[in-house]
């Protein structure tokens, strides 16, 4: 295995013989074609095939309904190089991530003009984000050799230039920016000295990349690590001077599919589409051999044996993913008792039962088991990745559950980890302490479900959870997590309106906005922020602009508690009526009856399927709820957890 893993996207299945035919058939679609687009995009496509699929997508664009259920995203592209070849690659690749991408290209070489002129093509296009595809040739990074101060000044000036660009785009169009790290040229000035000597391209680009990354942390702009990709596949292959000379193409075309995949993962992560759970097969995946046949002594796992070390590395990787918040589950064709033995008794195993949120070892087919895992964790199938050495199982799951990501694996288990991670299923654009705890959340939740099954009586169960709910208006501390929830929540989300962190910050100060961030602690632990509500005041009426909740806390009467909190604030501000809207999406059927369950009455039904609901504030008296309520005001800051 080598760069081909990345150039040929080897974690994806090869395209079928009839790929071109299916692309052409797509163009004749009369109904929703988004699923077929996504299916076709989910093969390992080279540039020619990406172009075919992109042409088909493009041909249906004038009828947006045909792109359903892909979600729209408008991407501006500004570049110092030829960007035209990026458009079909990005358009087709985005469908792999469930996104109907529309690209708007700036005029060639007009980087700053496009950003700063309010009426430029890019600014008029009202893009969701702008990809600033600048390579090292597009920034003035020359310096005096040996002059550290000059090198730093040159880098600072380049970062300032990008900042000006970003400010221009944000002020003129509101778009976020995606900035690229630079792939350094391979030609050295001296040799090994270059890294140490200020002013060499190696030294300056290194400094630039780190400065760029640091300048973006905590901002709404995103970093696309093109420099990292180029190093991974090999800088000498990445830079093709002939292509630059012929057509100002900034890197070798064979890397276009990998580049587009990297960029689209980022956009998908921005839209909350990164995956959250890794489902693991056992025999010949987590260990060598078959536990049912070979027994505890016969399976191969652990140091001292190359195969055993390869499987250990898979376990180590799973644990590292869990550390950063990815939930782990097991799906295996085995007797439950036997399958658990290595986790309980084998001294070399790194993974233990307490690392796994769901353990499905039985003789059902794997698609059924994976569906059960998703249900138990209240996660959509879109959130799951399934790792299995067996090609037949992989194909079955892919056929039955196309929303689950199933990486193709090479024969050698030593290559599983690299293949899994090359696919970038778990791309994240931020990392918060809440993420760190997420795997525990889901695991506790599965335990809660087990407890509920044993207690039977719901009220007694809820009381036994010993819940404390905390209400607080939006604030700076919660801002990143609030924005994350607003952009990620799909199921329990009444309106699915997405707001950037900057927009969330504006709401904090807006006197016409009433906002709530809600946290929940229970006997099993801290659930973190589990609900977000935004109301906009319109005379004596509150319009509930956003109401979302984490599905982890479904069935806990949290909705009722939130409503009582809203009513109490509404009363004290002289508001007489709450108006809520349900806007249906592909994912939020769950809350179709949310308002009716809470006692609102339907007052309107809109053509797009939205329903509007009203509740008079005076009508309601508080009921007792199975939780302790804590309020934190604007003035008081949140105590440390």
């Amino acid at each position: 295995m080598s760069e081909q893993l990345y150039t040929e996207l080897q974690w994806l299945p090869r395209p079928p013989e009839n790929f071109s035919k299916r692309c052409r058939a797509l163009r004749e679609s009369a109904g929703e074609a988004g699923r077929e687009m996504r299916a076709l995009a989910s093969f390992a496509l080279d540039e020619n095939k990406l172009v075919k699929l992109a042409n088909s997508i493009q041909s249906l664009r004038s009828t947006p309904d045909l792109l359903q259920p892909l979600i729209p995203f408008r991407l501006g592209i500004i570049s110092n190089a030829t960007s035209h070849f990026l458009v079909p690659a990005l358009t087709a690749t985005a469908a792999r991530y469930g996104i109907a991408l529309e690209c708007i290209e700036a005029n060639y070489g007009q980087v700053m003009q496009e950003a700063l002129a309010p009426d430029s093509m890019i600014n008029r296009a009202r893009a969701d984000a702008v990809l600033v595809a600048i390579d090292y040739r597009g920034l003035a990074l020359g310096g005096l050799l040996g002059d550290a101060a000059a090198a730093e000044a040159v880098v600072a000036a380049a970062i300032d230039e990008l900042r000006a660009l970003r400010d221009g785009l944000r002020n003129n169009s509101g778009a976020s920016c995606i900035f690229q790290t630079l792939a350094r040229p391979v030609e050295a000035t001296f040799g090994s000295l270059d890294l140490a000597l200020p002013g060499t391209s190696r030294n300056v680009i290194d400094l630039f990349n780190r400065s760029l990354a640091m300048s973006l942390t905590g901002k709404q702009d995103l970093l696309l690590d093109v420099g990292g990709l180029a190093e991974t596949v090999g800088l000498s292959a990445w830079h093709d001077s002939n292509l630059w000379n012929i057509g100002k193409i900034p890197f070798a075309n064979c890397f276009l599919p990998a580049y587009a995949d990297l960029a689209c993962r980022l956009i998908a992560a921005l839209r909350g589409k990164s995956r959250r759970c890794l489902v693991l097969d056992l025999d010949n995946t987590l260990w060598g051999g078959v536990i049912g046949d070979d027994g505890l002594e016969g399976i191969v796992i652990g140091q001292g044996d190359p195969q055993g070390e390869a499987h250990l590395e898979i376990q180590r990787t799973a644990l590292a993913l869990r550390e950063r918040g990815i939930v782990l589950a097991v799906s295996s064709k085995n007797n439950d008792e036997i399958a658990r033995l290595p986790f309980q008794k084998h001294p070399e195993m790194l993974l233990r039962e307490n690392h796994l949120a769901v353990f499905q070892a039985n003789w059902n087919d794997k698609a059924t088991n994976i569906r059960a895992i998703a249900a138990e964790l209240s996660l959509g199938l879109e959130s799951l990745v399934f790792l299995d050495d067996n090609p037949a199982e992989r194909r079955l799951v892919r056929d039955m559950l196309p929303d689950v990501a199933v990486p193709e694996l090479p024969d050698d288990p030593a290559l599983y980890v690299r293949t899994l991670l090359a696919a970038g299923y778990f791309e994240a654009i931020t990392y918060s302490p809440e993420d760190q705890k997420r795997a525990d959340f889901y695991q506790d939740n599965a335990r809660r479900a087990a407890l509920q099954r044993t207690t039977g009586d719901l009220e007694a169960y809820l009381a036994s959870l010993d819940m404390t709910i905390t209400f607080q208006p939006f604030d700076e501390v919660g801002r990143a997590r609030i924005a994350q929830l607003i952009n990620k929540s799909n199921q329990f989300n009444l309106t699915t309106r997405r707001y950037s962190e900057a927009q969330v910050a504006e709401m904090e100060a807006d006197p016409n906005c009433f906002t709530l961030q809600v946290r929940l602690v229970d006997t099993f632990g801290d659930n973190g922020m589990i609900s977000v509500v935004i109301c906009r005041q319109d005379a004596a009426v509150w319009q509930i602009d956003t109401w979302l909740m984490s599905c982890r806390v479904l069935g806990r009467r949290v909705e009722q508690a939130v409503l009582q909190e809203l009513l109490s604030h509404a009363r004290s501000r002289g508001v007489i009526r709450l108006i809520g809207t349900y806007r249906p999406t592909e994912r939020n059927r769950l809350v179709e009856d949310h308002y009716s369950k809470l006692g609102f009455t339907e007052c309107d039904r809109v053509a797009d399927g939205s329903t509007v609901w009203g509740l008079d504030v005076v009508d309601r008296t508080d009921v007792s709820l199975p939780m302790k309520i804590v309020r934190i005001d604007d003035a008081v800051s949140r105590p440390a957890a």
Binding site: S20, N242, N245, I246
Partner: protein, 84 residues
């Protein structure tokens, strides 16, 4: 078709221009094929290089006037490759 290079080139052209009916003729130029613009041309050349495991220099690419030239150059390169 018995000429393996012509057969190979035909399938490259069909893939690049997404036309399963496309037949190559020596006098054919970019004007005769739907979608053969400058960017598609680069894609075509790269696809030919990949399919046959050969490399063209920019000078050689510039000299190509029609499909006949491309067939001749590809044959030439393959022969050089085989002789090496």
């Amino acid at each position: 078709m018995h000429d393996p290079i012509l057969t190979g080139l035909t399938s490259v052209f069909r893939e690049v221009f997404d036309d399963d009916e496309l037949e190559l003729k020596p006098e054919m130029t970019a004007d005769d094929v739907d979608g053969w613009d400058s960017l598609a041309h680069i894609r075509l050349i790269l696809s030919v290089q990949k399919a046959f495991g050969i490399k063209f220099s920019p000078v050689e690419m510039n000299r190509l006037k029609n499909v006949g030239d491309l067939i001749a150059l590809t044959k030439d390169k393959q022969r050089q490759g085989a002789a090496r």
